[in-house]
Amino acid sequence: MRLDRRSLFRGALAALAVSSASACGGASGSGGRLRVAFPTAGAKETLDPHTSSLFVDQARAKALFDTLVGYADDMSVVPRLAESWEPDATGTRWLVRLRQARFHDNRPVTADDVLYSYRRIADPATASPARRQFAAVDFAASRARSATELELVLRAPDFEFPSAWGAPATEIIPAGTGDFAAPVGSGPFRFSSFQPGRPAVFARFDGHWSGAATPAELEFVPINDESARVAALMSGQVHYIHDVSANSASLLRGDNRARLLAAPHGTMQAVALKVDRPPFDDPRVVRAVLSGVDRQALLDIALSGHGRLGNDLFGKGLKYYPEDFPQRQRDPGLARSLLREAGADGMEFELLTSAADPYFEPAATLISQQLGDIGLRVSPRVGPSETYFSDIKNNGVAAHTRTATLPVPTFLAQRMRGDAGSNNYTGYRSAEFDALATRAASTADEAERTRLLADAQRLARDSSGLLVWGFSDWNVAVADGVTGVRPAPPNSLDWARFDRVSPG
């Protein structure tokens, strides 16, 4: 048995954490201030919502700013600043009507603010992670029809365009904003104080369009170490903690001082087989690996059962996910015969992995054992976590990867299309897939669009090289007595939404 910090911590707590609810009780004594703990990225943190790629930055952006729409748990869109919207018959011209909302400095939120925000996101100089969402917008033709009516014009039809308005890093800022030292937004909390890597404090904005937030103040507390976050929650120092491991989840389930909130299907766990280079440019070798992996064993062991089975498709539980595809089962006989046929029996390859995700390394060990059974020799190779996801874009032939919840059409367009560039981790290029995705985007009828997207996913499932073995739960936890918060997948409207949370 490996003795690491987590297992030791769990053991120590299991021995000592009896049901005496109570410890310090500091959090409940903090009145109207809600304290939420997130891992910190130190000096890398920012309050510029358009450049935020960290979860803590996105959570702070959600408190300070609003987006036009939000994502429901299945990644369908729900109105926020946009009250209603409609496309023209071609799907290239979108009319958006804004609700009456105000920024923290009492200025109204207008169509000009939205246009300024989207232009800034699309500007390469901003280096926004959401830039591709607005790459097809013709800003010269787009315009504000009035203070509350906006016309967005696209260069190509896209009946899923509203999805772009709810993506992370698409918050609306006042026109002309370039400095985020003390940002002004229209979100439920207004800026009070912040330093990168240090606590941030925001105060309730009484003029928010959806009504004043429940907590008078919201404090983001930086705690990097996961064990320390759990300890801070259980000892009453904070009310909410982000990112709880499967080990700690089991511990929290047996303790009455805290409540685990696990959202199913939170994160896709996958292995990207690079089909643009040997040995996975041979479809038989790809199919052999897909048939040689025992997904149920990976779920039971690597995820300790805290997740759902994968079926080599992104987006389980989300809108447009084809639930009717048969579950891929392990078939060692088929895998061996495919390898023999491809002349790849006994082939060796490296499986890139890292500590960037707690499930990667145990999964890599299991997968190398499982593929060993069908005659492949797989060596897990651990890379540095801080640059791992960039390193695997071009290096190696097989790598662990993960993706948090996104709308399925967004994932297909940005991670699987031939023009997705280096974000297409498997190097999949299929004119047929691209044509199906393009037709789906330009199809107004939702049922027909769903069918086209299912066809595209069926094609990609067999040939894209993406081995989706599971979906890990998305775990956060709250102190006992905290109300107004529910399990919600990452990037959804209700994830890290603190305006309706009562510290208890």
Binding site: F9, A17, C24, A37, K44, R132, A228, N423
Partner: protein, 315 residues
């Protein structure tokens, strides 16, 4: 003494140069750079290239190193690639937390180690000697993170007496929340106590049984005077070196304690700089840590020579 100090300063300058070159070379060969780390996994190649140009990462490494070196005589440690602020400001942000922890730990560990070391050194082989030795060795043998987590589980989660983490507090303001500091300082004391107390014990025991101590005893000098005038000055000289190592460790190597108790000090700042491939910041931290080590060792050597002037101290 002056010649000795001068010779040591020349050696120290060479050591600093070696540290600067080695750290720069090692950090340069790490995969990825600040542009990749800052932009994250979904950045396009063009975005990475543009940021790389803006941060001047496309300038040859030797040129960047030379520029950094040129700023040193002016006390300029360079500018952080991540924040665009002076590296010295970055380092000073974590200094207060680290210094406070180190001062408090030393305030406890020095008198405690002296009491244990002198007491057991003068009573070699007694039950007290065996008992105290056993305790300090046991504390030293428990890994730092394990000790920290067990103390948190016991005193914070089970008994509810002390906060589990600093939970956002940092710098000198921590002094206003002494309860927050009890567990981290306790862990640091436990980890530094053993080596220092045992070094004091060995030195005191050796001096106590030395011929000169027996000689002055035979001359009828009272025992108290023997211990204070002859045993302690000679016996404590080796412990001064150990004390320097302890201070050095407390100022630069408490990453685990900082992580477990969420205390943003210099250790975690250094780790963060390496993770972000923020080369000027990494260089700055390494230089500060190296200077600390060299200065502390120099002071320890000077103090040893002062305590025992006849002792030859190897430079």
């Amino acid at each position: 003494m002056a010649r000795f100090a001068l010779r040591r300063l020349v050696v120290a300058a060479c050591q600093l140069a070696a540290v600067a070159v080695t750290v720069f070379a090692l950090t340069s060969v790490l995969p990825g750079d600040t542009a990749v780390v800052v932009l994250g996994e979904h950045a396009t190649d063009e975005q990475v290239a543009a940021l790389r140009e803006r941060l001047r990462l496309d300038v040859p490494p030797w040129q960047r190193f030379a520029e950094w070196l040129a700023g040193l005589p002016r006390g300029d440690l360079g500018t952080s690639l991540l924040t665009g602020t002076a590296v010295s400001d970055e380092i000073s942000r974590g200094f207060a937390t680290t210094a406070l922890l180190a001062l408090l730990a030393l305030a406890v560990v020095i008198p405690l180690a002296l009491a244990i070391g002198v007491g057991t050194g003068l009573r070699r082989g007694s039950a007290l000697d065996r008992g105290l030795n056993g305790v300090v060795v046991m504390l030293d043998s428990i890994p730092e993170f394990a000790l920290a987590l067990v103390l948190v589980a016991l005193f914070s989660l089970h008994l509810g007496w002390l906060p589990a983490t600093a939970a956002g507090a940092s710098g000198w303001s921590l002094a206003a929340e002494p309860a927050v500091l009890v567990l981290p300082v306790g862990v640091l004391v436990c980890k530094q106590l053993c080596a220092l107390a045992r070094q004091v014990r060995v030195g005191v025991a050796e001096a106590d049984s030395a011929e000169y101590a027996m000689h002055v005893r035979l001359h009828g000098l009272p025992e108290r005077a023997v211990v204070l005038r002859h045993v302690l000055p000679n016996g404590l000289a080796p412990a001064v070196q150990q004390l320097a190592r302890a201070v050095d460790g407390l100022l630069g190597g408490v990453v685990v304690v900082e992580a477990v108790f969420a205390l943003p000090g210099m250790g975690s700042g250094f780790v963060g700089a390496v993770m972000a491939r923020d080369l000027p910041a990494v260089q700055g931290y390494a230089l500060v840590f190296a200077i600390t080590t060299i200065v502390l060792n120099l002071l320890a050597d000077l103090a040893s020579r002062r305590l025992v002037p006849q002792r030859e101290v190897v430079a």
